[in-house]
């Protein structure tokens, strides 16, 4: 019963306020090690903002649950799964770029997305991923001469 009440009070807004408060607290603690000349403006800003953030924490704790219009439903569960999937895709894009470089990484990532997330046919996925890679290469590398990140794999091989 008590757990249910706690769960109801713990909203995303409260979680975010706690995160912001923790970040501000960490920065305030760090600012104590700065010299007076470098630290006074950050300290003024951080003390003021941390005070407001803690006030918001109290408000979220007191009223956050009451403001939540509905109890967690199947829809929320599905959304949570989709958010996690989106984050995983973003993480995989970063990993692809880090390993294979900007162009090759983007092509591999977009092919995987088109094939498995968008459920496009193999030929369509290949075509769209290659098209994206070609546009990026033409615009950035060929026409504009921008030096693109080569990726750890290609850096090691060549």
């Amino acid at each position: 019963m008590r757990n249910k009440g706690l769960r109801k009070r713990f909203t995303l807004s409260l979680g975010l306020t706690v995160l912001i408060s923790a970040l501000l607290g960490l920065m305030l603690w760090q600012s104590l090690y700065l010299s007076a000349a470098a630290g006074w403006i950050p300290r003024v800003v951080l003390v003021f903002t941390l005070f407001l953030a803690l006030l918001q924490c109290a408000l979220d704790w007191r009223y956050g649950g009451a403001l939540q219009q509905h109890s967690p439903s199947e829809k929320d569960g599905a959304r949570r799964r989709r958010v996690l999937a989106a984050l995983a895709w973003i993480g995989s894009l970063l990993a692809c770029i880090l390993l294979l470089g900007t162009i090759a990484g983007s092509v591999v990532f977009s092919f995987a997305w088109f094939r498995w997330q968008a459920r496009e046919r193999l030929a369509v996925s290949l075509l769209m991923a290659a098209g994206l890679g070609l546009v990026l290469w033409t615009a950035f590398a060929f026409l504009l001469g921008v030096s693109l990140f080569p990726g750890l794999f290609f850096e090691a091989v060549f």
Binding site: L87, S106, S110, F140
Partner: protein, 508 residues
């Protein structure tokens, strides 16, 4: 305007439209449009790339090309901001606040039309003001010191009161967080590293572009994926889209007072060296939101939220040439590179530039003017194909947006860490969006904080040494009055208006 200035203006105009010189601004504008549509790349990078290519050219061709680079880059960044929530440059970030919600509502055509019209008219306003000010601008630009810059930043920060959304407390915390995050890096006075936590990456501070791309573009990608929306506009066919380019153009004339005020804000802020180009749009947006009778739609797709920053952003280009040409002090990064290119061609800014090379100055100005109109007219011609992008299935669009946003974040400084930074801010931005936290105060505070902090230090030092009397400076006093009006007069008038409306309702 004296006769020599008028003659130089006419001679410059004739040169811009003469064959084959007309090709330079046209080609420059098209190049700038392509370049600025790629997130993270901007006119400064294009100009930097063009410097070695144009080294052997004659100064006239260089002026024509570089003027077009400055003018042609702004609009396309706004188009990507409106359509995909990806700002081409930091200054376009403010356009997406209301531009993207309009796309989501199926009114991308109206937003692009309004953006094109206010850009073209705003730049025209800025350029004509620049021409009118040429005889006096040398004296005006040197009259500004750290105290004025400080008050300008304070004025910009006071705009936050209007942008806090439903919760003032959350808005203030977001602004405080923005100020705190901007202090990461070296202290401007002592060069002491602050809040770097031992990470080498943080020594240079947080770059605005990855933060903007994360907070808005990546957060939107997560949001769209989470909502399972079929298309950006919620409509699958072009015929189902609402709004039109004409409606967007009409909105500029319906809110002509706001357009004029935003253009003045843009020109004035652009003329102040070192303030940064992203500030003009934010201040204009804040003004639009504060002066509106009904501001409930701001951030949800109010056309005035597109009009004001677009007019200011383009009017700023004219203003930014004032300190660059008159004093050799660039107004922003773009004008800094332009200054470098001019110096390489033996064109020293200052009195000589405004007397002996006045025709070349006008060539630059008219080229800027022409490129602004070319981009806007092309934008209007391409409204329908561009709006059609909002009917493409999100499963096909999201990987493209994702790749462009991550590339944009990385290309700005060439660091993979910037992409990681953008992703972290993307998750943070999504959490803010989901739980009703305003993101605008955070980015405005982040953009204004460096100006605020460095000038606060300078002003205090000068005051201690008895070199300035803070309250005896007319510009400081004028800005203080504007700040107070922002903080107290606008809410008071709004409350008065609400009371009057309530009373009228009761009487009925």
């Amino acid at each position: 305007m004296d006769g020599s200035v008028f003659d130089a203006a006419l001679e410059g105009l004739a040169l811009v439209f003469s064959w084959p010189y007309i090709l330079y601004p046209v080609a420059g504008t098209l190049l700038a449009m392509v370049f600025s549509a790629s997130p993270g790349l901007n006119s400064s990078s294009l100009m930097a790339l063009a410097i070695p290519v144009t080294y052997a050219w004659d100064p006239l061709a260089v002026m024509l090309l570089f003027g077009a680079f400055v003018g042609g880059a702004t609009f396309m960044g706004s188009v990507t901001a409106i359509l995909f929530n990806i700002p081409g440059k930091a200054q376009n970030a403010v356009t997406q606040l209301d531009g993207f919600p309009l796309t989501v509502r199926g009114e991308a055509r109206t937003a692009i039309g309004c953006s094109a019209a206010s850009s073209a008219l705003g730049s025209t306003f800025g350029i004509f003001l620049l021409i009118a000010l040429i005889p006096v601008m040398r004296h005006a630009a040197v009259a500004l010191g750290p105290a004025e810059y400080l008050m300008l930043a304070v004025w910009g920060l006071s705009m936050l009161a209007a942008l806090t959304g439903d919760s003032v407390l959350k808005g203030l915390i977001a602004a405080g967080l923005g100020l705190a995050l901007a202090m990461i890096g070296h202290d401007p006075r002592t060069a002491e590293p602050r809040f770097t936590l031992g990470f080498h990456y943080l020594h240079d501070g947080l770059s605005l572009v990855p933060v903007f791309l994360g907070l808005f573009a990546l957060a939107e990608v997560i949001h769209l994926a989470a909502e399972g929306r079929k298309t950006l506009s919620g409509r699958a066919r072009e015929e189902d889209l609402g709004g039109s380019a004409m409606e967007g153009i009409r909105s500029v004339f319906q809110h002509f007072g706001l357009f004029l005020r935003s253009s003045v804000i843009g020109t004035v802020i652009g003329a102040i060296p070192g303030i940064g180009s992203s500030v003009a749009g934010f201040v204009a947006y804040g003004h639009a939101s504060q002066s509106a009778r009904d501001r409930s739609q701001f951030g949800r797709g109010d056309i005035r939220g597109v009009l004001a920053p677009e007019a200011a952003n383009d009017a700023k280009d004219g203003g930014a040439l004032v300190p660059t040409l008159a004093l050799g002090i660039p107004g922003g990064t773009g004008t800094a590179v332009l200054l470098g290119a001019l110096t390489l061609h033996g064109l020293a800014p200052g009195r000589e530039m405004l007397t002996d090379n006045l025709v070349l100055v006008f060539v630059l100005i008219w080229s800027l003017f022409l490129s602004n109109w070319i981009t806007s007219l092309l934008g209007l011609a391409l409204v329908n194909p561009m709006a059609r992008l909002s009917t493409i299935r999100t499963t096909r669009l999201l990987p493209v947006i994702l790749v462009l946003a991550v590339m944009g974040a990385m290309q700005y400084r060439g660091l993979v860490a910037d992409a990681v930074c953008a992703v972290l801010f993307g998750i943070f931005g999504y959490a803010m969006k989901r739980s009703g936290w305003p993101r605008i105060p955070l980015v405005i505070a982040l953009a204004l904080a460096p100006t605020f902090e460095s000038n606060l230090h300078l002003t205090m030092r000068l005051h201690e040494l008895g070199r300035i009397d803070f309250w005896a400076r007319p510009v400081v006093l004028a800005l203080a009055v504007l700040t107070l009006a922002n903080l107290f007069l606008s809410p008071f008038l709004r409350r008065l208006r609400a009371m009057r409306q309530r009373r009228e309702k009761q009487l009925r």
